[in-house]
């Protein structure tokens, strides 16, 4: 019942759910032996280094370079929006190893230790004021070729596998939402009572039903995977659903709090210690990161429904 007590459980999620499957699928035996056990134990914290100032949801626009120099790659450029990057021991991401290739060709998938010379990590505060993001500045940072995952210049294929799992099942377990929905129901019981509350109750019930839907859908998908099916672009449906459910659920909670919704964490009058406001701010990132929901809807329309790209 890890989720029921309301533990945030956010640190290192990315390492396990994003990078783990990639190293399983594309990593060398040496990489698998070196990285997987400490990742599983939580001894090393990983953070993604995907986005760049000019390449947010558009990974193929990456311009950060990784140029071969013997056994080494020399990295120059900037990465942004690096979730949990402030705490991480390692980063993983895509870099342009062939500057003459266009778009999604010529990228390589690299693992970078935080203590690399030439790498500067700058903390950036999140909406809720926590310093959880980072910007990474690379200036002639040297990364050994043993940290290349998959083939050189084939980082896109490797990353697509990772992105698929980021959008998919692993990132958000259903228990997280069913537990949050149960807490929302409990909040309603404590806070409601006025004559207009049926309207807010309906929002509570819709969120609670949404959490059940997410659980059933995820179980169904898990069952398919267990029977050998693969999950591709359908993972985008999953990501749209949980991220919008999370926002709606916290919206429903804040609506119950009236003018106490704005009271910050830790104040005596903050309901449930301000967890709903905090959760709302966290939830707002959901529709943005790991490919905005606009892009996810394009993926659903084009790859699941087969609509023409242009």
């Amino acid at each position: 019942e890890y989720y029921r007590v309301g533990a945030p459980g956010r640190v290192n999620t990315n390492g396990i759910s994003l990078l783990g499957p990639t190293i399983f699928a594309f990593g060398s035996p040496a990489q698998q032996e070196r990285f997987l056990p400490p990742m599983a134990r939580g001894d090393e914290i990983w953070a993604q280094a995907w986005s760049e100032p000019d390449a947010g949801s558009d990974l193929a626009a990456i311009s950060c370079r990784a140029i071969r120099d013997g056994e080494w790659f020399v990295l120059d450029g900037q990465k942004t929006w690096c979730s949990r990057g402030a705490f991480a021991d390692w980063y993983f991401g895509l870099f342009r190893s062939d500057p003459d290739a266009e778009r999604h060709r010529g990228l390589s998938y690299l693992l970078i230790p935080r203590d690399t010379d030439g790498l500067t990590v700058r903390e950036v505060s999140r909406l809720d004021g926590d310093p959880a993001f980072a910007e990474l500045f690379f200036e002639g940072a040297r990364v050994h070729e043993s940290n290349l995952v998959g083939d050189e210049n084939d980082g896109w294929g490797v990353a697509m596998r990772t992105a698929g799992s980021e959008r998919g099942l692993n990132l958000r377990a259903p228990g997280r939402f069913t537990a949050a929905a149960d807490r929302l129901v409990d909040l309603y019981r404590r806070e409601a009572g006025g004559p207009g509350d049926a309207v807010r109750r309906d929002a509570v019930v819709r969120s609670w039903i949404g959490a059940q839907a997410y659980r059933q859908y995820t179980w169904q998908t898990a069952g398919r995977l267990a029977r050998g099916a693969t999950v591709g672009a359908e993972a985008s449906l999953n990501k749209i659903f949980w991220s919008e459910l999370d926002v709606a659920l916290h919206d429903a909670a804040l609506a119950l709090l009236g003018d106490r919704a704005e009271i910050d964490e830790g104040e005596a009058t903050a309901v449930d210690g301000g967890a709903w406001l905090d959760g709302y701010e966290f939830a707002l990132a959901g529709p943005i990161y790991a490919g905005t929901n606009e892009i996810q809807r394009n993926v659903v329309a084009e790859r699941v429904l087969g609509l023409p790209r242009r």
Binding site: V185, Y188, R189, A192, R201, D202, V204, V205, R206, W208, I209, Q212, A213, Y214, Q216, Y217, W219, Q220, G223, R224, A226, R227, E234, L237, I240, F241, E294, Q296, R297, N298, V300, A301, E302, V304, L305, G306, L307, P308, R309, R310
Partner: protein
Amino acid sequence: MDFGFSDDQELFRSTVRQLLADRCPPSVVRDAWTDPSGAASPVWGPLAEMGVVGLLAPESAGGLGMDEVDLVLLLEETGRAAVPDPLVEHTAVAIPTLRDLGGPDDLLAAAARGERFVGVGLAGATHVLAAERADALILQHRDELHLVTSDRFEATPVASVDRSRRLAAVEWEPGRDSRLAAGEPAARVAGAALDRGAVGSAAQLVGLARAMIEATVAYVTEREQFGRPVGSYQAVKHHLANALLAVEFAAPLVYAAAWAVANDADDRSLDVSIAKSTASDAATTAARCALQCHGAIGYTVEHDLHMWMKRAWALAAAWGHAQWHRERVSHRLGLAPDNVPANRNQREQPHEQV
């Protein structure tokens, strides 16, 4: 609980889908709109032969002795094809109700073979579907359930927006000889019947939604505006993605509710209400999306879309509309101050025009 279906269940679904593609094209639905007799459609016989109509009847009565988990995918397919016959009422509700209450063996057997049609009118429903065609109706009167044969009721047709739904106002007198059950057993069976009808119509709503999405995808891929396919516009893509999202997250809830009905689970009514409210909303969303993305052509009765859309509107409100089912969920969660009214039209005075 893993709600993955077995290979046999998936195969049965494919077989039914193929049958309906062959024997229930849109022209069959369109004919049902204009057939004044209200008789069975041409696909009723083949569905009965395949065992679909009597699927829940015991093998001793000539049925397949299967359960709602077996049935739910097939009902979804009948929704997809907009089959005009009232399968939810007959197959999903009347047959198991007769089975559970020990109704007449000959009627159950004939119903299982599709030779006789049995309709249903529970308290709270304004009208009865397909009463003109019925050899018998299971009707609720206060805390009693009656089996009323066609010589004992009078059915006056009432037009639905979906002309293939033959509604009727039914006049009848409850008699001791027509009574199937009373008191607590009747209430229990009537509650189960409502849940059966709700999950059955939810399954059809999922199928209707899928069909409308598929038809719309085909249309917008073909149709061009401003020199490119309508389906290449992001707004259209997002409408369709939203509709797909709604139906893909509704379907597993419907399957889970079918399991709960088949196993008479403790949370049966909760699971059913979750499923029906979500499926009603999903089909309504898909209908709006389909009409908007079709544009003017979808607004004409010459095009087939409107028949699917109107069926979706009707089924979304039948067997408890989305809000009524959410109220039931609310009550189950201990959030509603009062009992949810048994009357699905949710007015203070029960409305027994059945």
